[in-house]
Symmetry: C3
Subunit: 208 residues, 3 copies
């Protein structure tokens, strides 16, 4: 049993690592695109590609789960982790989609701060996931989770400044509606990253 088990155990972590790296790549690509200016059709298309890749990985994890008898961590935790990471990618994508939909042609300093924090958060997540399979590195995993929580707090602060500025200087209610939502989705992305970190911490708590 032992010999057959090891590759199966590794498989889940391999999928998780691929799922996390795909998210980090999407966040990095989005950040670079925003710096260049307009969110054009090709950016939206490329972001959709990341989303589909994420969906495929998430389904492969759930499929493997249905075929595997013994799993390294609880089945429901594998399921939760795959799904909350999928939510995270959907939300990063939602920032891009809203900008395009609302015809917001360029970024601003607040959105850039958000997208910086999102990129850092997805990298911390990717690192946390990479260390999860090694029970000796639990402290490292926890440190990455703390980093994700820290970035969520930063997100709250950016949001406060961004919304304060918006209501102070933007007098067109339609523009207020549009930008307010873009900021909120961006901040929500950091919230969902924190939620993924909580799922990871919950797994550590069980196996601690």
């Amino acid at each position: 049993m032992g010999i057959n088990l090891i590759p199966k155990e590794l498989k889940f972590f391999d999928f998780f690592i691929m799922e996390a790296e795909n998210i980090a790549k999407a966040a990095e690509y989005f950040k670079c695109s925003l710096k260049k200016g307009t969110i054009a059709d090709d950016v939206v298309k490329k972001m959709k590609d990341f989303e589909h890749e994420g969906d495929t990985l998430c389904h492969e994890i759930v499929d493997s789960l249905n075929k595997t008898f013994i799993t390294p961590i609880d089945r429901e935790d594998i399921f939760d982790l795959a799904n909350t990471m999928d939510d995270l990618l959907d939300l990063i994508n939602a920032v891009a989609t809203r900008m395009k939909l609302y015809k917001l042609d360029s970024s601003d300093e607040y959105l850039e701060q958000f997208v910086d924090a999102i990129e850092q958060s997805t990298h911390a997540l990717s690192n946390a996931i990479k260390h999860m399979h090694d029970t000796k590195r639990m402290r490292r995993v926890q440190e990455y989770c703390i980093e994700i929580n820290r970035l969520e707090n930063i997100g709250d602060q950016i949001r406060e400044k961004a919304i304060g500025h918006l209501f102070e200087y933007e007098k067109d209610p339609i523009m207020v509606i549009k930008w307010k939502e873009v900021y909120e989705v961006a901040e929500g992305t950091l919230d969902v990253a924190e939620h993924v970190a909580k799922v990871i911490e919950g797994i550590l708590v069980k196996h601690g």
Copy 2:
């Protein structure tokens, strides 16, 4: 023990089937009412009746749970399934309530598309629930869950078209606020249906 157990096991599924059918009926009734025109007081009242029926069923499930020692699926999953289905019905109801509250006298093509998708999604859910007690029909249950996920994706597309159209043609910010929220609640309904499907898939994963 065996003989006494069977009716108890069936009881939970019976309640779930009744809860799911009540939701499908509410969605169907709402769709028909919208087609007729204004959401009048009697429609809101009738929708409230469905919601109360759903609350009663949800409480009966939790009560049975507190009185039953052995359950066919994990206690916490029964609890989650009853509660997320209750959330779904609340949200269908919220679409009706918002229209009345915002004095939106008639539907539009986007809302009709949403309500069509919601009705289909609740029927797929009702079918998924009906097949859940039969371990030989797990593939069927999964197919209904995939259908619910498909309709959630359709919901995203309707939302994008609806919101794009709204910002293009509606110049009154107050009307933008009102319709934007109605569309968002309608889309949120399909999200929650997908969440119920995930709870079902999570149960399949455990018992697969």
Copy 3:
């Protein structure tokens, strides 16, 4: 084992009681501050203090969890309860923060009704938590949970009246956006309190 276990078991409940009391105190303080008028800087600061105290307690619970082998209730439930209570406090705080951010100088009758309901809900929660460790008082705990659910329904009704009034009398779209969000966050607070009650009920279901 027995002798060492008892203080450990009590510890979790002690932390939960402290966490719940801190929330109830925050809700009470906020209610009194609103009655006095403007949400000034010192009120926002004091609310932040409650939030930090809550964060500290939540972290202490998770830390104890990582150090304790046997727990009185399931590890994941302890984790969920600590975290959802933390969400509740964050949301009460969000009402205060939004008012300050949006420069809304004074309360209105609807917000006062919300804050009354929030205070009652947090007190019911604090009472529920206090009785949770005593298996003979499960009925009492359930009654407090029902009270929290009742207040969530009241919240829905306040919201409906508040939003109806807002769209009827407030003609400035920017003010509509601001007040609508304050009402929604206030109502969301009662939703999250109901969610905490569901976590408690879920624990009762397991141990019932």
